[in-house]
């Protein structure tokens, strides 16, 4: 039950009033991951792939500066207010099902509690629930099964105290496999519901 992190990049864009330069800084995300960005204009392009590294630009036509490492103090003096205002990154949870059913595996039943606790700790929390199946059976039936799974999870979460109108559900049927398989292949990792708190 490992939350999936979609959030590889965290980038800070700046146009400081009074300073005639744009400053673009790549920083790490909450999990410590650092992505990669390309800063480009009519004068050229620069790639940044290390944390706390900045490129500055003084016009649309002049080449972007070479990447420069900033100290933590420089980053916070430029961006503290915006950094303080950044909402908590979304968190994802995977719940798994017995074949052909909307019955959770025993292990996944216990992670429901963790979802509720996390939801309650977030500010203005919302939950996005997406149901999935493996490829056993036909696509239309799997669309409905995945929707039943998502709806079953929604009901469990609402019963546990989540507000109904803070929860959205949808079905991806058999079209969004975690483990790629051929048709009619049982695969426990694909029989899942993904709950993202945001």
């Amino acid at each position: 039950m490992e939350p999936i992190s979609f959030f590889l990049f965290w980038l800070v864009g700046s146009l400081l009033l009074g300073v005639p330069e744009d400053t673009i800084v790549l920083v790490e995300d909450a999990d410590g991951k650092v992505g990669s960005i390309v800063v480009a204009n009519d004068g050229g392009a620069q790639v940044i792939s290390t944390a706390n590294t900045a490129v500055t630009l003084s016009s649309r036509s002049s080449e972007p500066s070479a990447p420069r490492q900033l100290s933590r103090e420089e980053v916070s003096s430029l961006f503290q207010r915006a950094l303080d205002a950044a909402p908590q990154a979304p968190q994802s949870f995977m719940l798994y099902f017995e074949t052909g059913t909307s019955t959770l595996t025993a292990e996944s039943r216990s992670s429901l509690e963790q979802i509720v606790a996390t939801f309650n700790n977030r500010t203005l929390a919302r939950a996005n629930i997406i149901g999935h199946t493996d490829t056993v059976g036909d696509a239309a039936g799997n669309y409905r099964l995945a929707l039943r799974r998502a709806t079953a999870i929604k009901q469990m979460l609402v019963d546990a105290g989540l507000k109904e109108d803070a929860v959205d559900t949808r079905s991806h049927g058999e079209t969004d496999l975690i483990v790629k398989t051929g048709d009619n292949t049982p695969e426990p990792s694909n029989r899942r519901v993904e709950v993202t708190l945001w």
Binding site: F7, V12, L17, S36, A82, P90, L124, D165
Partner: protein
């Protein structure tokens, strides 16, 4: 009895408060998670005060005043914030992964901002377009070079 009535009144208040906060229109692209002091939204030619819990829509221009800041999360998990005296336009937001329709474009017009990529950037990084006055910023996927021994 009086205790029971106050208890029920508090419950009702909590329910009303919580309910109002939880609603989010279907066509909203995201939600304002926090507002500190002054922030507003320019939409359809008008300007309204930004409120925590409120929706944001495609085309909105988010503005903070000299003392304000704001935090916004979009439906694909993109996280944005603005420091004081800042302006950002949410040009485009398309998040229909089932139909493979994905896109996000934002213009950072002035001030300071943070951007944390969401699912659109993970699924279709080439469809994410961030720009400032002098630059466009491309979000690149992870690149791997592999050499297999003979």
């Amino acid at each position: 009895m009086r205790f029971l009535i106050s208890f029920l009144a508090i419950l009702l208040l909590l329910a009303a408060h919580g309910g109002a906060r939880a609603e989010l229109p279907q066509d909203a692209i995201g939600q304002i998670k926090s507002v500190d002091l002054g922030a507003s939204i320019r939409r359809n030619g008008g300007s309204t005060d930004a409120e925590a819990g409120g929706p944001v829509y495609e085309g909105d221009v988010i503005v903070t005043d000299l003392t304000g800041s704001i935090g916004i999360t979009l439906k694909d998990g993109t996280v944005l914030s603005l420091g004081s005296d800042s302006e950002m336009e949410l040009d485009r937001f398309i998040f229909e992964p089932q139909e493979k329709k994905l896109g996000f474009a934002a213009k950072f017009l002035s001030g300071t901002a943070t951007y944390l990529s969401g699912r659109i950037a993970k699924l279709a990084p080439e469809q994410v377009n961030l720009s400032t006055r002098f630059s466009t910023i491309g979000i690149r996927g992870t690149r791997v070079l592999i050499k297999v021994a003979k």
